[in-house]
């Protein structure tokens, strides 16, 4: 038994991504149609050329959510969800289906309409339960990482807060260069440091935004890629793990890591043949739902040795012009996080960067890109890591 991977067997040949933000004038149907048709056009195909669909969105019940607005002509549509990695899960399923030979051309598409609920962020109703599950917002769950990390590595709280702010500052700086981002302004460090508290020590500016959006990818077997585009990008690795949830259960978990990320990264690097990610990965889109998440991810993904990511943050190693640019498109911080769309939005940046189409954000001659997505909470989550290249 093994996670064998599908290195270089599947190609992404078309992608689409809506602008992310407050789409008061569009419903989820409109966003799906916009992303899907961008992807069709990008791959030069007609809707009927796609043989099967994977739809990532939260809280829906079936593939009809996609097939009805797109008028999909009696084709398989699978609805998937896997917390905040829902869009990534749709991509993984579509890639594996094509790799198996079952379909020639498949679409992974994700969408979420968060702004319509009237609440901040995703609202999911829990199934009937015993009332012991706790009452904790998402920022609070992730902010548990901050004091644990600061204490373990000897950062005083003020210094730690500055490190976190530097991450948000960098992502907004990148997002300012991206026409599809929700927030397209650089934000001064002081504004981030002094933003109103949400879950101490995190302020509003330590949190990703709330947005509507959709993104889509069309995938085929690698040998067919040139039929659709001169510049396909190739799947090197796809890894998805769900953890046993030991964080809130076992004392040896110390809230300075996501073990699920460590496991999926290791698997992905094996699949892709990457031995030193800090050197070999050209750029990464990681799940910066909250600033301490991104800090911990640098270490879990092997970009920084344990306890040193904060130094790499301060030295600018992860900046657009640094040694390993992270979230070159602006990340969840600049885009917001429409759950089902985010994983595919990350892949869209890889698509642009690897094809040299990222404009003012373009990284010099990237070879391997990584996307990472997680859902749940520290110690109890799912994690996805992909590696793609030219």
């Amino acid at each position: 038994m093994a996670s064998n991977g599908i290195r270089d067997r599947v190609a992404i040949v078309g992608m689409g991504c809506t602008q992310f933000g407050e789409h008061w004038d569009k419903g989820p149907d409109d966003l799906l149609i916009d992303a899907a048709y961008q992807a069709y056009e990008s791959a030069g195909v007609a809707p009927n050329d796609v043989d099967a669909y994977w739809l990532g969105t939260m809280g829906q019940l079936s593939g009809l959510t996609l097939s009805v607005p797109l008028k999909i002509d009696y084709k398989p549509v699978t609805h998937v969800e896997n917390f905040c990695a829902t869009g990534s899960e749709a991509l993984r399923q579509a890639c594996y289906a094509v790799a198996s030979g079952a379909y020639d051309l498949a679409m992974a598409i994700g969408v979420e309409k968060l702004k319509d609920s009237g609440y901040s962020g995703l609202v999911v109703s829990s199934p009937a339960n015993d009332g012991t599950l706790g009452n904790m917002s998402a920022p609070a769950s992730f902010s548990l990482l901050a004091p644990a990390y600061f204490k373990k590595y000897g950062l005083d709280p003020a210094k730690g807060k500055e490190v976190l702010a530097r991450i948000a500052w960098k992502n907004h700086r990148n997002g300012a260069k991206n026409p599809r981002a929700q927030f397209r302004k650089e934000v001064p460090m002081e504004a981030i440091l002094n933003s109103p508290k949400v879950a101490d020590p995190l302020g509003v500016m330590d949190c990703s935004g709330v947005a509507d959006g959709s993104a889509a990818a069309i995938v085929c077997r690698a040998e067919d890629a040139q039929k659709y585009t001169r510049h396909p990008i190739f799947i090197k690795a796809l890894s998805f793990v769900a953890g046993p949830g030991e964080g809130p259960l076992a004392q040896d978990y110390d809230f300075t890591t996501f073990r699920e990320v460590v496991a999926s990264a290791k698997d992905a690097y094996t699949q892709a043949g990457v031995s030193d990610p800090r050197k070999e990965i050209s750029m990464a889109e990681v799940h910066d739902c909250f600033t301490p998440t991104e800090l911990v991810l640098y270490e879990d993904l092997g970009f920084s040795p344990r306890g040193t990511a904060w130094q790499d943050v301060m030295s600018g190693f992860f900046d657009l012009d640094g040694g390993l640019p992270v979230n070159p498109d602006g990340g969840l911080k600049s885009f917001g996080h429409p759950i089902g769309a985010s994983g595919l939005r990350m892949m869209y940046e890889m698509w642009l960067q690897l094809r040299g189409e990222a404009g003012p954000r373009q990284i010099e001659r990237p070879t391997l890109g990584l996307t990472h997505n997680l859902g749940g909470a520290p110690g109890r989550c799912v994690s996805f890591v992909s590696i793609v290249g030219r």
């Binding site: 012991t132 609070a140 259960l249």
Partner: protein
Amino acid sequence: MTVGIASYGSYVPYRRLKRAAIAEVLGIPAGKGERAVASFDEDSVSMAVEAARDALRAAPGTTVRTLLFATTTPPYAEKLNAALVGAAAQLPLEIRAADLTGSPRVGLTALLQAADAVGANGGSALVAIADCRLAAPEGKAEQAGGDAGVAFVVGEDPIAEIVASASVTREFLDTWRAPGERFAHTWEERFALTQAYGPLLGAAVKRVLEQAQCAPSSLARIVLDAPNPRAADELARGAKIAPEQLADPLALTVGQTGAAHAPLVLASVLAAAKPGDLILVASAGDGADALLLKVTARAASYTQPRSVGRLIESKGDVAYARYLKWREILPTEPPRRPDPDRPAAPPMLRSETWKFGFVGSRCTACGTPQLPPQRICIRCGTRDRMTPHPFADLPAKVATFTLDRLAYSLNPPTVNVVVDFAGGGRFLGEMTDCAPEKVQIGDEVEMTFRRMHSAGGVHNYFWKCRPRR
């Protein structure tokens, strides 16, 4: 057979409301001192649980056969509140349980009923008494009242033996509250004082002293409790009771705690009592009950885990506006989050020992304690080799924490903590009764039974931690 108080426990909530703080906001005269206030996540059941757990800790190995919960403020009008107390205290299935309510004297009545039950059925009886005195702003009761709990294990090897008791009951309109009403009404003061509380309290006290052939001067301590405190003062004068015989009524520190009051003052008296002491306790309300206790030799070796005095000293203030918000007297804008759901009956029944008793599990293959109880061990992966493992009394330390300002709460910020128990096991939940800005990794905490929220008429009880008191 000697029946009496075998052990006791008390509970004064952490929060205090200064009477001057009420008066300042309302522009009315201020009473002296402060009153104890149940926190936003407490009610008469949760306070009774605190006291009951303390009483049971002080009487290890007790076989409880009867459970009585007494209050004038039951969280449920229909549904046995005592059953919740029993579940949280992890009492066995085979007990007789009842709620007693209707009058502030019901606390002392419950103690007497418990003694009868022990006399009739043997074993021990647990009496848990608590009140959360809700009163309309500007009224006297708002300043005078207080919230507290107290509990007694009544059994056959007592620290204070019941020597005599007497009761009188008379229909009388002084204080009343119809179902669905939040605040009580009261009749004119002089009428109740002269026609009811004075005479009735006097009658009960007289009878109990006659029964025991005991002169007032031989009493080491006297607890006199009536809705109008002047009734007790006048009785004391009339009966030639020396002021030093009267117990501190806790008016300046706790307030008048309704059904819990006479029993709570009794608990504070017991802490200082010596073998041979005679203690008289009397409580009025639609009549009166009186009880004469004699402290036994066993009291000399008895130690109480948490005294009333220590609980009074352990405190933090609450602002009047926040108190009004807690009691839902002052409507406030809800957070932009969905309202909490009510818990569902079948999952609550399945997880009864976890939810109400905070009982986790321990793997018998590798010894790892874990909570909530698991079927497959998080450490060694062995299936179904778990044994129940209670965590409610284990000390714990904060591993990491956050202050959640977004979560739905009547008392933001919600302090969310990861706590690690001595000997293993971890819990991610809320911390209460603390100063949020002072929480640190490594803080020592203990578990407390609380009402998490109420929705759809269901009160969702579960456990939180708090700094050690």
